[in-house]
């Protein structure tokens, strides 16, 4: 009987479990979970603080998931070493587990750059796990002044989530714009104005040079008093287990389209991996939930002897703040088509007869039609792109393509 071990218990792990069970109903599955929780929806922690998701509904696959999937979860345990020659995993309590097939789904961890005086700050938090959110919540008061370092997706979702529960929220970022990993200057500026209208303050192109217990001294000379500090500078893929075992690692664990690492019998999935972004044809860490699920499932199917590939990976995000949604996908390269109003921006990027990427703010209707063109690498000459660029519609597809999409099972 096969022995599957999954290190990590997030979305990629859940996908992996489902993938294994779609092929193999009897193999033994063991999940090593550092967090003391069943798999839950990480991105919902800000919605929880905002009151839009309660703890009973934050579970990803329901209370009986592991029973249904017939797997064992070791909570509060950490894998410290892969003995690849003897195919054993060593845990922090010294026990060793045998595996015939292994999946690394270790995710990422917050990255905190060295900042002078940071150790003097008592109430400081990361914002990545449910426990982070619960600890932060305990400190929130209606008069709290919250300072968030990092205007990326994590920092800003945190800002939105707590805004109505605190006195003030100020966000600092080294970059000159918000959401700098997914938005360009003009789009970021539209989103920033919207966030400011709702009361969030910003210091961009700036950073904290030094901290006192309740004060940040910024490079620009500004000083910000605060009660609570949230560190959301960035995350780094957890690659050390594979690196130590001699596997190929760059910014993430390198995997092929089967989610196999460079080590035999060892797969990896989710935020800890670096895989092919087909829109740029470069290997990238694409740490987003949909990819984690799909990569996990792909890994699981292959671990169990089935055949699956994850070969349509692209970065893509849908993120909204106070009712304004920004959708982004792919790479922003090639010829630009754009439409703008006071409250919306649409940008499509075309290269080599393919849609390569887009940014849509405040105009998201049926955006998935655009996303599918990037993922499926559909030649734009095969459809009516003049029509499609003004509105996402399958009516712009060729009759043949419509017949395939709507004529039968998909």
């Amino acid at each position: 009987m096969k022995k599957y071990v999954i290190i990590g218990n997030g979305i990629a792990a859940a996908g992996c479990i489902e993938g294994i069970r779609s092929v193999d109903n009897s193999g033994e599955i063991t999940v090593i979970s550092e967090e003391p929780h069943k798999v839950y929806c990480r991105p919902l922690i800000s919605y929880y603080l905002e009151g839009k998701a309660d703890l009973s509904r934050i579970s990803y696959r329901g209370e009986d998931f592991y029973d249904r999937m017939n797997c064992t979860v070791l909570y509060g345990k950490k894998a410290v070493h892969i003995h690849k020659d003897t195919q054993k995993i060593e845990l922090d309590d010294g026990t060793k587990l045998d595996y015939t097939s292994l999946c690394i789904a270790t995710g990422s961890s917050p990255f905190v750059p060295p900042m002078e005086g940071l150790d003097l700050v008592k109430d400081k938090f990361s914002f990545q796990t449910l426990d982070d959110a619960l600890s932060l919540e305990k400190q929130l008061t209606p008069s709290s002044r919250v300072l968030i370092i990092g205007a990326g997706l994590i920092g800003l979702k945190c800002a939105e989530g707590i805004l109505d529960r605190v006195g003030s929220v100020t966000v600092i970022d080294l970059a000159g714009r918000v959401l700098s990993s997914i938005l360009d200057d003009e789009c970021a500026s539209l989103m920033q104005r919207h966030l400011m209208k709702h009361g969030i303050k910003f210091y961009l192109n700036d950073s904290a040079a030094r901290f006192e217990e309740n004060k940040a001294f910024l490079k620009s000379g500004a000083e910000v008093d605060f009660d609570i500090l949230v560190l959301a500078v960035g995350v780094r893929a957890n690659v050390s287990l594979v690196r130590e075992a001699g596997g190929e690692v760059n910014r993430g664990i390198l995997v092929d389209e089967r989610m196999q690492t460079s080590l035999p019998g060892i797969f990896a999935a989710g935020d800890c991996t670096e895989s092919l972004d087909i829109s740029s044809q470069e290997k990238r860490v694409m740490a987003i939930l949909p990819n984690a699920n799909m990569q996990g499932q792909t890994a699981g199917i292959n671990m169990a002897g089935g055949a699956a590939v994850f070969d349509k990976g692209i970065p893509m995000n849908s993120i909204g703040f106070f009712g304004l949604h920004a959708m982004t996908a792919g790479s922003y390269e090639g010829e630009l088509y754009e439409e703008k109003t006071d409250t919306s921006i649409k940008r499509l990027y075309v290269k080599d007869d393919l849609l390569k990427g887009f940014i849509l703010i405040g105009c998201d209707e049926r955006a998935g039609i655009y996303t599918s063109l990037i993922r499926e690498q559909v030649p734009l000459s095969s459809l009516d792109f003049e029509r499609l660029k003004t509105a996402a519609t399958t009516a712009a597809f060729s009759q043949e393509m419509r017949r395939k999409k709507f004529g039968g099972m998909v």
């Binding site: 919902l44 509904r57 939930l289 909204g320 998201d364 039609i369 004529g407 039968g408 998909v410």
Partner: protein
């Protein structure tokens, strides 16, 4: 499994399916009271091109990318039908970002909604099909891609 299919050469572009859908899911017994003078939020929409029109609703994909992408675990597949648990949906729009058919959209409250083949409402079978005056929308079994 039976699914909803469209025959684009027969679609008149009358949009009646959208009204029947909105009514079927309104929970109300009077169509006029349910729809008159109000914006409607159907789970099917008519796509219109130069010389064609056809209705699009959830394809209930074999390998549904919306289910895999939902950040709230609100979308699931049960007996072949893709369902949404609106209590869990946080309106992040990730399903809108990924659905290749544009088959998910926010309802009146802002929470996402989609076609569940009328299996959950009192109609019990797709109201869009039942009310289509030209049989351009059908509910039938089609094994593989034609």
């Amino acid at each position: 499994m039976k699914r909803v299919y469209v025959n684009e050469e027969w679609c008149l572009g009358c949009h009646l399916c959208e009204y029947n859908c909105a009514f079927a899911n309104s929970g109300m017994s009077d169509m006029v009271l349910a729809l008159k003078g109000r914006p409607i939020f159907p789970r099917i929409h008519v796509e219109e091109g130069d010389k064609i029109s056809y209705a699009v609703s959830c394809r209930h994909c074999e390998d549904p990318i919306c289910v895999k992408s939902c950040i709230a675990g609100a979308l699931s597949k049960e007996d072949g039908v893709i369902r949404i648990d609106q209590e869990r949906c946080v309106s992040c729009y990730t399903c809108v970002l990924v659905c290749p058919y544009g088959a998910l959209s926010p309802g009146e409250s802002g929470v996402m909604q989609k076609c569940e083949l009328c299996l959950q409402n009192t109609v019990g079978e797709p109201a869009c099909v039942k009310g289509c005056p030209n049989k351009a929308i059908v509910y039938e079994e089609r094994g593989e891609v034609l």
